[in-house]
């Protein structure tokens, strides 16, 4: 199993002027090798928390998370992961190539392999010409694509994509959907969350519907649609509204 969540609970501690907030309430799911799992849910459902726990940005209060069979605290595991954050952001005075070099060095890639891979992905994502421009001048869509290139540079086994299509125009979105399909066909495991249900429907093998920190549904898209007897969007809305 690539990813396994077992009864995971996470509460964000009380802050000044804010109440403590339980973001996940006993979530369990798994992701097998070569599988694509879509995390869907309204804002505040716990999708980003699920991803951040997996990358050890935050730690669970209860339950067990396994990543490649180990708890996610070991940074070496992240050599096998490519992560695309929800808001792509880098130190602003770097160029695309600076970021690629950092990504390659952090994974101990040799310089020539890094250059070949950087050229491949930056060309594919339409950023090769802009590789020596400072990132502070990039649009949101360009930053998103740069972030994608950084995630793919070291040929990871698992891709964790947090809203991969946000900030992209329709052409860019179609390109990213095609790219995710190709990566899936290559046998990569993909975990991604998105608000765009059409994209989720086109890409995933299974779906996990989250709402207020709870898992409302975990299974295939066909299963989700069969449960409600409607299309995916209607099935999602009826699940969430049924809990509201």
């Amino acid at each position: 199993m690539v990813v396994s969540y077992n009864q995971v609970q996470k509460t964000y501690p009380k802050q000044l002027g804010e109440q403590a907030k339980t973001a996940l309430k006993g979530i369990s799911f798994h992701l097998a090798q070569g599988e694509t799992l879509g995390l869907i849910g309204p804002n505040g459902a716990g999708k980003s928390t699920t991803i951040r726990l997996l990358l050890d940005f935050i730690r669970p209060d209860q339950g067990k998370i396994l990543l490649f069979g180990e708890p996610p605290g070991n940074p070496a595991q992240r050599r096998r992961i490519g992560y695309l954050p929800e808001v792509p952001s880098f130190p602003p005075n770097l160029t695309c190539m600076d970021v690629m070099r950092f990504a390659g060095d952090s994974c101990h890639m040799d310089r020539s392999a890094m250059h070949v891979s950087a050229e491949k992905w930056l060309t594919r994502l339409g950023l090769w010409e802009a590789r020596n421009r400072l990132l502070r001048g990039f649009s949101k869509g360009m930053k998103q694509r740069a972030s994608f290139a950084m995630a793919l540079l070291h040929d990871p086994e698992l891709l964790i994509l947090d809203e991969p299509m946000s900030g992209l125009d329709p052409i860019g979105r179609a390109e990213i959907v095609d790219l995710i399909r190709e990566l899936k066909a290559e046998g990569k495991s993909v975990l991604f969350c998105s608000h765009l249900l059409n994209d989720v429907e086109r890409l995933v093998d299974r779906v996990l519907v989250l709402h207020e920190g709870m898992a409302l549904f975990h299974g295939s898209i066909d299963g989700l649609v069969t449960v409600s007897g409607q299309g995916m969007e209607d099935a999602f809305l009826s699940l969430v509204k049924g809990r509201a």
Binding site: L55, I58, P85, L94, F102, S106
Partner: protein, 267 residues
Amino acid sequence: MLLRVLALARIMFLDGLRRHALLGIVSLAIAAEAFGLLFMDFFGRDIGRASSDYLFSVMWMAGLLFLFFHAVQVISWDEERGAIYALLSRPISRSEYVLGVFVGLSALLIALLLLLGPVAYLTLLWIKKSLASVYFPELSMSHFLLAWAGVLAMQIVILAIIMLFSGLVRGGFPVLLLSASYYAICSGLPVVRASTAQHDGQGLNLLLQLMTALFPDFSRLDFKDEVLTASLSLDTAIIFTNFSVAILYACVMVSLACWFYARRDLQ
């Protein structure tokens, strides 16, 4: 580990190097050092000492501006802008991240002082050559280097403290407040110790002495008075000890920063 720390240090260095505000600090500091050539005209005697003090003050202030307007914000910027997620999604531990930021900022600080040091020395040399030797009798290059290294060591210690506060609290402003308070205490403590030493309060003196372990006395690394002397007034063993203690102190503070940061949630 070293490769990963250096990879991170490299991007911190490049990011700082291309920041317009830092380029502004460097330009301002060089202009202020060049102003030293006019500054000496305001003094009728002790021109060498006044000029040396002025030039070292410019280097010190430029370093402090770098520390309090750039270094205090680096980690909180990464957190607020979300860049930390892109960086830590690589196989880099939190401790390596703190070390990488520290090494990158130290490199920037060294680059800043490497730029200002020769300008200051050449300015002093120019002033010395333009005056009769009675007004500016001595200028020692090795002692100048010692004083320069003292400024660097003091600022590296402050940077290590900034890393510790950045690991402990969120946000650039709280880190700035804590770091500025720390610096104020470090500067004030020797004065308090000197004034209480004349009284009989042994307990208070001991407390103040213990506090020096937390808030080091930076004047121990201030060698700018030596620049104008032919021979050192301090024993080299004492100088070596002072530098060693400063390096050890910085290492302990950075280790603590790594320890705290590794245990924090990145919310």
